[in-house]
């Protein structure tokens, strides 16, 4: 499998240096860590938002560091959680004295390492709260989690909580908003191919040319069903129906949708999926308030996509639509 890399062991380190070189006035790398923070961190007078997780999901996580979203992000090795001391360094670097909200995707390693870091930071007098995102409706327990996995819906948590923090809200308010998004969002994904990790250099799992896996996780871990390749509309229906059945929204509810690419699928195909998604929402009596299409949380070079639906009210619309200025996501008003 062809990869544009040097040594597999150096990929994350070199990626992080490449990111800071791309955004020298926005991102700063903490010395001797894999942590990227806002160049102006800690930001005085603001609750800090931090997150992190394995690498390979770019632009997640550091791509969302900036005005209106995150203050910093810790990068683990490919598909591996950052260690607790990296998370602790992240929290310390971002705290300006107004508290820190840690946004954790529900994966066992991320949860354990982040919780350990939070407890250590609290021993040093930092006020830290956390939320665990578990938007993946596909599986209840998985290879890496107890409970549902945290996937692309996490970006909306970064966005809404980030806007709330930027508006000067206190830690409990920022956390409340984060939890509100978590309560109202669902995601399900599919893989058309396996991803290829730099270290292994070959597909993580076998998927036939005529097969897809529904309910796939963002590390290529097993989903709910392996089935024959279907037209885009049928796949979109399967993903969307699973999400909508889980959310169980009333007629007329407004929603924000994301069609997220897994890294190896062209935008052309993502828009094809979005077309069917919007049709389906109309048939279901839901109103689209905003529709995002692109690579938001990837799985290296995996071909495939996920569908995220988030029910919004006036408060979430204001926050999700508020200005943001980060490498991977910008909004202007």
């Amino acid at each position: 499998m062809k990869k544009l890399i040097n040594e597999p062991d150096d990929v994350v380190d070199e990626m992080l240096d490449g990111m800071t070189a791309a955004y020298p006035d926005r991102l700063r790398r903490l010395p001797d860590t894999q942590v990227l923070v806002r160049d102006d961190a800690p930001v005085e007078g603001k609750v800090a938002l931090v997150t992190g997780g394995g690498s390979g999901h770019e632009p997640t996580h550091a791509g969302y560091v900036g005005d209106g979203m995150l203050d910093g992000a810790a990068a683990g090795d490919v598909f591996s959680s950052p260690t607790a001391d990296e998370f602790e360094a992240l929290i310390d670097a971002c705290d300006a004295g107004d508290g820190v909200l840690a946004i954790i995707k529900n994966y066992e390693g991320d949860v354990m390492n982040f919780e350990t870091a939070i407890e250590l930071a609290e021993m040093e007098g930092v006020e830290v709260e956390s939320v665990v995102v578990n938007d993946d409706v596909a599986v209840e327990d998985s290879l890496y989690t107890s409970g549902r996995r945290g996937v692309c819906g996490t970006i909306l948590v970064h966005k809404a909580a980030g806007a709330k923090a930027a508006a000067g809200a206190d830690l409990s308010e920022v956390k409340r908003v984060a939890e509100k998004v978590i309560d109202n969002v669902g995601t399900m994904g599919t893989a058309l191919t396996s991803c290829v990790t730099p270290e292994k250099g070959e597909p993580t799992f076998d998927l036939g040319d005529d097969e897809i896996e529904l309910g796939i996780g963002i590390h290529g871990e097993p989903g709910t069903e392996r089935t024959e390749l279907m037209p885009a509309d049928e796949i979109t229906d399967a993903l969307t129906e699973a999400v909508l059945d889980d959310l169980d929204l009333d007629d007329g509810r407004e929603v924000l949708t994301i069609v997220n690419g897994m890294g190896g699928t062209p935008q052309m195909e993502l828009f094809v999926v979005n077309r069917r998604l919007q049709e389906l929402l109309g048939e279901r009596g839901l109103e689209t308030w905003d529709a995002w299409v692109g690579d938001y949380m990837t799985s290296l070079d995996m071909m495939g996509a996920s569908v995220t639906v988030c029910a919004v009210d006036d408060e979430l619309k204001e926050l999700l639509g508020a200005p943001a200025d980060t490498p991977a996501l910008t909004r202007t008003q």
């Binding site: 591996s80 959680s81 260690t83 607790a84 066992e108 390693g109 354990m112 390492n113 250590l120 021993m123």
Partner: protein
């Protein structure tokens, strides 16, 4: 818990100095180096086959960091060991083995005595249980730690045994705790995904805990210039909280019939 006053602490034995703790850490590091393949073999049966390498690398770094300390009092050594393990081991083992070390080191404000060792052990177990959300019977490190910690506490506080004998009893309890992981089914950690296929495998994490305790005991015996005492094998293995059942927990997971 007593032992606040110097007199009581002294009655339970001399406080251990930092050099002895560093020696213990070095012994643990050597042990993990020699058990690297053994642990990896255990982990490859039910996990992702990195436990042996992770522990060997982590403890080697911990020993080095401990040796480099300017003022190696026991608390500083334990804190450094924990921090280094967190950084080097990664995965779930980093916070479980390393993070818990950092938190437990808070109990060593006045050095290592029998009493502070009990407090250390209890905090360590509590942190592992909470972080891993695991209890006895889940086929995890808790299966070795719980009987060891309970036995150590009872031996020190109730039976008034000398520290070395209490530690020997704890190691004996941990040994049987490790054996207990073989016939049961994993309900936490990566192995739980295997459902019934985890039955019949010895838990690598519990095994690692036993190695650590065995090396502590050997180093403590060395430091006190004594033999490792023989203990009878009647100390309670799983005091008070034996699992209600080790199979068929009725939560909808795979049953034997589902297994191919």
């Amino acid at each position: 818990m007593s032992g606040e006053e110097d007199g009581e602490a002294a009655s339970a034995g001399e406080a251990t100095d930092g050099a002895a703790v560093v020696a213990a850490v070095e012994a643990v590091a050597d042990r993990f180096e020699s058990e690297r393949d053994h642990l990896t073999e255990l982990d490859s049966a039910i996990g992702d086959a990195d436990h042996g390498g992770n522990m060997a690398r982590g403890w080697a770094a911990a020993a080095e960091a401990a040796r480099d300390l300017d003022d190696p009092d026991p608390q500083a050594v334990c804190r450094t060991v924990g921090k280094t393990l967190m950084a080097e081991v990664g995965g779930a083992s980093g916070p479980l083995f390393g993070g818990s070390f950092v938190f437990a080191s808070a109990e060593l404000d006045d050095g290592v005595t029998a009493e502070s060792a009990v407090a250390f052990a209890e905090t360590y177990l509590e942190k592992v249980e909470d972080r891993g959300d695991a209890r006895v019977g889940d086929q995890t490190v808790v299966d070795a730690l719980t009987p060891a910690v309970h036995t150590f506490k009872k031996s020190v506080e109730t039976d008034d045994l000398p520290p070395l004998e209490a530690l020997a009893k704890a190691v004996d309890a941990a040994e049987r705790g490790v054996a207990f992981t073989v016939p049961i089914r994993a309900r936490k950690g990566r192995a739980s995904y295997l459902g019934w296929r985890s039955v019949g495998h010895q838990d690598p994490g519990a095994t690692s805990a036993l190695f650590i305790l065995e090396e502590l005991l050997a180093t403590a015996a060395d430091a006190l210039d004594s033999e490792v005492p023989d203990v009878d094998a009647t100390s309670p293995t799983i005091p008070d909280e034996a699992p209600e059942e080790t199979a068929g927990d009725g939560d909808g997971d795979a049953t034997p019939e589902d297994e191919d």
